[in-house]
């Protein structure tokens, strides 16, 4: 069963604006990861945040994790048209051996 629920399902913004996507999950986790998927392509790993971390940055990406609320957010700052893609959160539950459970994804469109 899917673990993560993502919000919003779709997001459309102008180039230069910030994009925020949220993810909620159900069980205890080792870590939470965000992936990007361009249309018709495989998933690309963006960033990983461990369960004992609260915030992490990588370039224009900022991820937060609130384990008490079982939620995470991904912020993309100063978005570009090339950021247009689907974004998925994936959790590594504490109960298993490296398996990732993916959410339904947020489709981001950045208009030039």
């Amino acid at each position: 069963s899917q673990q993560g629920e993502e919000d919003p399902q779709a997001l459309s913004i102008q180039e230069g604006e910030n994009a925020t996507m949220n993810c909620s999950y159900k069980t205890s986790i080792n870590n939470l990861q965000w992936y990007r998927q361009n249309s018709g392509r495989g998933l690309v790993h963006l960033i990983l945040i461990r369960s004992n971390e609260r915030e992490k940055h990588s370039g224009r990406l900022r991820v937060t994790l609130d384990t008490s609320k079982k939620s995470s957010s991904l912020l993309i700052t100063a978005s570009r048209a090339a950021d247009t893609a689907s974004y998925f959160c994936a959790t590594s539950p504490t109960s298993n051996t490296g398996k990732l459970i993916f959410g339904q994804g947020t489709t981001l469109q950045v208009k030039p």
């Binding site: 899917q2 993560g4 080792n30 870590n31 990861q33 992936y35 018709g40 392509r41 495989g42 998933l43 690309v44 790993h45 990983l48 461990r50 998925f88 994936a90 590594s92 298993n96 051996t97 490296g98 398996k99 990732l100 459970i101 993916f102 959410g103 339904q104 994804g105």
Partner: protein, 118 residues
């Protein structure tokens, strides 16, 4: 470093036919995963291998799906017979090891095989 290779990229078959997908993971990656991604949804794990042994196949429809990873390197996923609801992208991913690989680096995914069953 070469990525995860998958073939074919696209496949169209009629229902009740059989089909096979191939995956070659990154060299040295012990753990290999097959995911099914139905249009508009997130990927769902079908099977996880550690070397040539199965770690988790709890969501693999074993009446029609089978997978193997001979010699702990390449893997094949087979569907026989296919149903309309099997239309999806089949993604292969690999990681160095089940815990520290995803912990440190996440997965590396292939480009997937898009299957259409008509």
């Amino acid at each position: 470093e070469a990525g995860v290779a998958q073939s074919p990229r696209y496949k169209i078959i009629e229902k009740r036919q059989s089909v096979a997908f191939w995956c070659n993971p990154i060299s040295g990656h012990a753990t290999l995963y097959w995911y099914q991604q139905i249009l508009g949804q997130g990927p769902k794990l079908l099977i996880q291998f550690q070397n040539n042994g199965v770690v988790d196949d709890s969501q693999l429809p074993k009446d029609r799906f089978s997978a193997e990873r001979l010699k702990g390197v390449d893997s094949t996923l087979k569907i026989q017979p296919a149903k309309l609801e099997d239309s999806a992208v089949y993604l292969c991913a690999s990681s160095l090891e089940p815990i520290q690989g995803p912990e440190l680096y996440g997965y590396t995914f292939g480009s997937g095989t898009r299957l259409t069953v008509v």
